[in-house]
Amino acid sequence: MSRRTTLKYAFAGIVAIALTLGVGWWRVDGPGAPEQTGLRPVALSEMEFRLSDHEGNDVGPETLIGRPTMVFFGFTYCPDVCPTTLSDISGWLDDLGEEAEEMNVVFITVDPARDTVEAMAEYVSYFHPLVRGWTGLEEEIARAAQGFRARYERVPTEGGDYTMNHTASVFLFDAEGRFTTMIDYHEPGEFAVPKIRRALNKET
């Protein structure tokens, strides 16, 4: 092999390595990086979205600041996860009794096409009276979900209907609007209730 050929190969090798590194960077840290998951929600004071509660009041993240807050994303056409979580939440609120009365409890729909203000009003009426239902324009729901780092996706089902995959964790914030922790889907009450207590009692 001539010296020139060796150099050529060496150069090709360097180019290949550089390309690999470049592609690696593009995929991991660069514009091709997958959307980060498992991130904490930002503080409520840093979120921006406008929605309507189930009584038609204009609401946004600032509505929640001043009291400890519990937020859950779901949709009323959800047969299993959402009624289960809302009844878990209702049970935790019952356990906390008077302690929880100072709390904001919000169920935000990820399916505003079907979950109108009226649909939300009827749905939340079956759960603990503290639970508020929020809906609104699709873009505003998307902005809310982004702030909470919640994910959702519309999935077609048999027979032309659709369902929604969505983050099923319950997010907790202190009275200042700072994220404290989250309760995983179907987490037993003996873990969930102390977590809520911590959000309630956090010094502000």
Partner: protein
């Protein structure tokens, strides 16, 4: 506690269809059946129960039927590492001898799509479970409130 024995249930609630010959599935017992009430008929309903194989042969649940819903199916809910929940048809479910499968919130559920009438709290509906040996079991499912968390309410 509601314990509905397959044979008894079939005799009590079976439609006009004659009972097929049954082998393994005659030893299947369904316990603690319950469902949530629905709001109207547009939203899918969900029912839960424990299906226990008390015999010494494996049985395979192949499907469910009910006149309450045009498209009933067993679904599996799962939650991934990022906390995102989704559900998908569970397919056929084999139950080993002496074992049981639990249809319960967050796991398996009988998904009742295309409701033919609203599911009203306090009422019952019948649901038939079909097994691969040709056997079937019909159970009466009590409808509890929307916020019910288990067979006790």
């Amino acid at each position: 506690m509601t314990v509905v024995y397959g044979l008894m249930a079939a005799l009590m609630f079976a439609s006009s269809a004659a009972m097929p010959a049954i082998a393994g599935s005659e030893d299947v017992v369904v316990e603690d059946a319950w469902a949530r009430a629905s709001i109207g008929v547009n939203r899918p309903g969900a029912a839960y129960m424990t299906i226990r194989n008390t015999g010494d042969e494996a049985v395979t649940l192949t499907g469910i039927r009910t006149d309450l819903a045009m498209m009933p199916d067993i679904h599996q809910t799962s939650t991934n590492a990022e906390g995102v929940s989704s559900m998908a048809p569970a397919g056929e479910i084999e139950i080993a001898p002496g074992e049981a499968v639990w249809l319960e919130p967050g796991g398996l559920h009988a998904m009742l799509m295309r409701l033919q009438r609203p599911m009203a709290e306090g009422e019952n509906f019948s649901m038939t479970l079909d097994f691969s040996d040709g056997g079937e079991i019909t159970v009466e499912v009590p409808i509890l409130g929307i916020a019910a968390r288990g067979p006790e309410g």
